[in-house]
Amino acid sequence: MSLVVDIEKTLPGFTLKMAFAAENETLALLGASGSGKSMTLKCIAGIVTPDRGHIEVDGRVLFDSDKHINLPPQQRRVGYLFQQYALFPHMTARQNLLCGVRGDKKGAGAKADGMLATLGLTAAADKLPAQLSGGEQQRIALGRILLNGPDILLLDEPFSALDSHLRFALEGELRRTIRDFGRTVVLVSHDRDEAYRLSDTMALVENGHVTARGTKEAIFAHPRTRAGAALTGCKNLSPITLLPDGRMLADDWGVTLAAGDVPKAARYVGIRMHAVQYGPGENEIHGAVTEVVENPFSCTVMVQPRGGKKPLGWEVDKSWWRDHRADSVTLHLPKDALLLLEE
């Protein structure tokens, strides 16, 4: 099943202009809240109508402004898992599942009962959504969608309604559901770890645009833009000044860095905190330790380079830091670990 999206919509504050395609893969749209990810899903599902553009699923046109095609959501066969799951609160779990069965209601009961068994929720059949745990609600909502037989699956921040300790277990379950579904899935998330674990490919979304698209490994290795780097969890970012000798000056850190061929469009340099290396080497930095932030299993050591304006974060093993604690350190930034970023 392939999905092709190329749409435009003017919204208060920004213009949504999304173009991407996906084929039998799980695509994660990773972006800050308000970047237009959920709005894109709503356009695909037909809940919101774009101003212009084209949407198709496996050659079936759902929306085309030129041809005046705009299928109602009822005819799109797009499964949409809402953030809060949108279970009908006055119906029991079983009745909610029954709402998912399309067409002929004969045999619907058996299908709903089969789904309850698959979900391991037979005992909860007659409970109202408010009496179910967050995880159970998610399973019923997914079951309701799967009974509906959608061509593609859209997941809108599937874990935002759950406590963090529940997420991990449910994530495994959702991964299995996605695998069994076996067709195109679009996942919207602002959590890079969750997006990475659940998806095959990724698109970074900023201000209503896709700024990077590729396999998740490629996206994390080359986020392309400053905001993209931040989205993928890169916290050390500095504007740069390109020098005539091909090197660059990282303005915030006050150090000159060599990174091979620096693209002309590069405006920022970034390095992930765990990629910062201890000791002398290429792109050396000498600095004072300004703060040590303790994480559960590591330390983030903030190092202010000599002559720099802002400190750099350096993630080290907790016990290692206990043995090597110092007020000033020498670090180096390996050239392969540097991210060269556009605005």
């Binding site: 599902a45 809940i47 959501p73 009822q74 799109r76 009908f88 969608i145």
Partner: protein, 220 residues
């Protein structure tokens, strides 16, 4: 004691509540979908009868429905129906006065409705009619029910517009409220008091019902 005024009040209140129930819900549903500016204007017009003195509403209705006025003359000529000074004239007057109560409570209920439920229903292929009657209405049930009972209670007590449009004809247009006024005016204090007590008892029962509905709403 002639019970006609009670029977008349009840049927006027029941019929006007039934009309306003559907009209209020329909208009509340569509008004919520209007662009903001038009919605503001529509809201003012639809709520106006709530704040206008009932006599003003009565006056305006007479200007429309009187036998020589535009609507009244038309109804008389085409349908052979008098729109004033009959018991059903009171239904028109009462419906106009109580309409805003139903409209506003229904609108409040619809506004607190989580639209993603309707959207989820649409993506699952459920028809919009099904979504309205089987999802939106049941989820908003408590608010709409409370609004309906309140509307009925207010309809039962309507006096101003009713007395102007339907007048007071014993055995034909007399309602509890117009009867109380007539009895008091003619110094029949004992009978007036009995009607007052009947009215208070019914209104109290209706308000008790509203409170019970509200409490269940809180518990649900």
């Amino acid at each position: 004691m002639d019970w006609f005024p009670l029977w008349n009040s009840l049927r006027i209140a029941a019929v006007s509540t039934a009309i306003v129930f559907f009209a209020g819900i329909a208009l509340a549903y569509y008004a919520a979908r209007l662009p903001r500016l038009i919605k503001g204007v529509a809201d003012v017009i639809l709520t106006l009868p709530l704040v206008l003195p009932p006599t003003v509403v009565g006056y305006l209705l007479l200007r429309l429905l009187g036998p020589r006025r535009i609507l009244g003359a038309w109804a008389l000529r085409v349908l052979g129906l008098r729109l004033t000074m009959t018991w059903w004239s009171a239904i028109i007057a009462t419906a106009v006065v109580v309409f805003p109560l139903m409209y506003r409570t229904a609108r409040g209920a619809f506004e607190s409705f989580d639209e993603t439920l309707a959207q989820a229903g649409q993506t699952l292929g459920l028809s919009n009619t099904y979504i309205f009657w089987r999802i939106r209405m049941p989820v908003c049930r408590q608010g709409i029910l409370a609004g309906t009972v309140l509307t009925f209670a207010r309809a039962l007590g309507e006096y101003g517009a009713t007395s102007m449009i339907a007048g007071y004809t014993p055995g034909r247009t007399a309602t509890v409220s117009t009867t109380v006024y007539q009895l008091w005016r003619t110094d029949n204090d004992a009978l007036a008091l009995r009607w007052v007590l009947v009215n208070v008892a019914i209104s109290a029962a209706v308000l008790l019902a509203v409170n019970l509905l509200e409490r269940r709403k809180g518990a649900a």
